[in-house]
Amino acid sequence: MLRLIIGSSYANTIVVDRAGKNKSIKRAIVSAQPGDTIRIKPGKYSEGNIMLEKPLVIIGENYPVLDGDHQYEIFTIHANHVTIQGLMFINIGVASINDLAAIKILDSKYLYIRNNRFENAFFGIHMSNSSQAWIENNTLQSNVKVEHQVGNGIHLWKCNHATISNNRIKGHRDGIYFEFVTNTLITGNRSEGNLRYGLHFMFSHNNEYRDNHFVNNGAGVAVMYTTGVKMINNTFEHNWGASSYGMLLKDIRDSHVKGNRFIQNSVGIFMEGSSRIEFTENTFSQNGYAVKLQASCDANNFNRNNFSGNTFDIATNGSLVLNKVNSNYWDRYEGYDLNKDNIGDIPYRPVSMYSMIVEEMPTAVLLWRSFLVFLLDRAEKAIPAITPENLKDDFPSMKPYDFDKAGK
């Protein structure tokens, strides 16, 4: 009797092997008790859709391949305490009504999705109405060329308290997609070459994004309708194209953007309808526009940022200025510093006249780089007439800030 109780409280391990006794993952799951571990040996398993409705640990050895045969979703998880680790998912079905995913999670808690590989998944990891999930060290790659034939890499809908760390996502529609996701940490991920956005979220409050790389995505990063965003030490690099943004902020409020690097984006930050965001210690270099600050934004504060090598530092579309841009470093600043306190003695106006004209009349862009525009810009610098009077840095730094040193 005692032995029975002890025996049942210990988890069993079931081995699934193409060459062994248990050949099927599905049957192993049916026979497993809650809390058991299923070890999958290397091989190729084409079992269609696998339902998982009890707490199990599924571990792959040397990346066994789970093939969706271009038709099926693979795991559908509807249970708490599930771990999926070390598997390789390929060829998930493409559908326009259902969001078929390599791993779909519904109404669950305490999930660990670790060290998996995904190739040509429609959706990679699709999680809805769930919480307490750890999605770590997964590699997702898709080779589809058109947007409607591929889903998002990591897709969360109505989730909270998740941790998404150190994943690599390439070639999906959106690398990471959140809707109604709260209190989540996103860190150390690399989202690269996705067809639409590297990161895309809406209505996802109080999340923290740290040390992520968003590189070369079709339209960069777009985030909307959210409060309490923390963006720290991320890199937004080479999101280049006519409608591509390093980061697009729409209706974002009460947030912090700190220590990020915006490099070679056609627009570093585009913001509209956003309020009370603190931008500190960011680096903007070699962007087309470093910041496009629409007049619908208010009470934002740009402080101690480095601007260098950008074609336009700041562009705006109106004369109303409710934002502050003080104590930044601007490589175009031509003022002087008589008392040697490293603060320029005359204010810097980061908005060039020509960017104002183009904002008003897009066709005027055809005169760009002409001698006339150069002269007009110079004249405007001397006597501001069109550019917003108040959009200026009163305490421009004479030297670039060294953020690397400060961080160490």
Partner: protein, 255 residues
């Protein structure tokens, strides 16, 4: 004709101005390449030289040269040589020497540091603008007999194409900004070789992503085969038309 071209060419080389021009281009191009490691950005800065300096030097030099060789021209006219031949020889010699100076001054550093196909387009634009402004210089020279006046006209041409025209264009865009202007402006651009060369260059650089819808429209047009042929054709018209007109005036002119 080749003999006349040769004589004029040697004459130009003897004044050393062309060598100075080559050296200036060489030094500034090398300096730009050394200041910035990104060839794309260097091409961007070189664009200013191509659009401003090359036309200015070409037009002023060609005008002055024409008046300095007035005696030579008169001497040649005393021989049994066709007026057109003399005129075109003058043009050929001046244009070829200016183009060679430009290609040597900008092209050699480019070859050395590597600037790719955009660099090649830049060279092409520079050469074409040199030819266009040499033509305009010859036109200015035959329009009047007074050297100072001719230089004035030449400078006016330069001012017009690099500054005044753009001002007018900006005014048009401003006045009619409520209308779709893409097609209109692209034809207006064709009326100014400097603008046309500038747009061709800008669309070759990845900076064109900043040009929004207008840029995309131009890219669509100028990027297509028909558009490329049309733009090159228009630039050639800009070389040939002023020259043909000048030749006609010259052949009837009472020297």
């Amino acid at each position: 004709m080749t003999r006349i071209v040769k004589y004029i060419f040697y004459d130009i080389l003897r004044t050393r101005f062309i060598l100075l021009y080559t050296a200036f281009l060489l030094v500034s191009t090398i300096a730009l390449f050394q200041l910035d490691s990104d060839p794309g950005k260097v091409v961007m800065s070189l664009l200013n030289i191509v659009l401003m300096v090359a036309p200015l030097i070409s037009i002023v030099f060609a005008t002055i040269h024409f008046y300095n060789s007035y005696e030579f021209i008169e001497l040649m006219l005393a021989q049994p040589v066709n007026r057109s031949v003399i005129f075109l020889s003058e043009y050929m010699a001046v244009a070829v020497s200016l183009c060679l100076a430009f290609i040597a001054g900008v092209g050699i550093p480019m070859l050395f540091y590597g600037a790719g196909s955009t660099g090649f387009t830049l060279l092409f634009c520079g050469v074409v603008l040199t030819l266009v402004f040499t033509s305009l210089a010859f036109l200015a020279s035959v329009l009047t007999r007074d050297k100072a006046k001719a230089i004035g006209i030449a400078l006016l041409f330069w001012f017009y194409f690099s500054l005044i025209y753009d001002g007018l264009l900006l005014w048009v865009v401003y006045t009619f900004s409520d209308y779709p202007l893409e097609k209109v402006t692209i034809s207006l651009i064709a009326l100014n070789p400097v603008d046309l060369a500038r747009i061709i260059m800008l669309l070759r650089l990845d900076i064109s992503a900043l040009m929004g819808y207008t840029g995309a429209f131009y890219k669509d047009f100028l990027g297509s085969n028909a558009g490329a042929i049309a733009s090159v054709g228009i630039l050639l018209v800009w070389v040939i038309a002023p020259l043909a007109w000048a030749r006609q005036i010259f052949s009837k002119k009472d020297l």
